[in-house]
Amino acid sequence: MSNKLSIVCVSGTLEKLQMASMVASVAAASGDDVTVFFSMNALQYFTKDNAELAAPEEGEFGRLIETEGVPAFRKLFEQAADLGDAKLLACSMALDLMKITPEDLTLEFGPATGLTAFLSDAEDGRLLSF
């Protein structure tokens, strides 16, 4: 019986994206049923146009993360999906405001997802927000 973990990723700062990607990748690779829902400032880093866009640091720790050897958050989300079958979902409202579709995103994103669908999916598991 696997545990269900839902992660809401809204912040566009490096530290929060890094932590969310670490939790998502380790949980997914450990057999948890992981869903990551991206909205607000977090979604912009996953468009094809922004594939190289760096996330700003919140503080001193962000500069440490940029030290060579810390896995990049994009890579960890990709591994969460590839190695642990994590579902990566883009908020439909964020897509609408950004005037893009899931096809404009780099990683393997699932269908555009509204809050009703996301909350129904998340209701019988744990939820973390970054």
Binding site: S25, V26, G69, P71
Partner: protein, 76 residues
Amino acid sequence: MSETKVVDARNTFCPGPLMELISFMKRADVGDQMELLSTDDGSANDVPQWIAKVGHELVSNEKIDDVWHIVVKKVK
């Protein structure tokens, strides 16, 4: 008896060594043995916990000259 594959994750930080090991495990056959090399002390604790949680076999875990050598066998 298959030989031990070495996964060199030295100089990467958490969860780099674990994810390197997992991507190797995913491709390996049951019975294969892997030796993870890591310089990250956190991973020396975290990797064996992952192995126990997922149900593989920790063969050995020792630090030699600042490098952790974690040997794991894929059992399922």
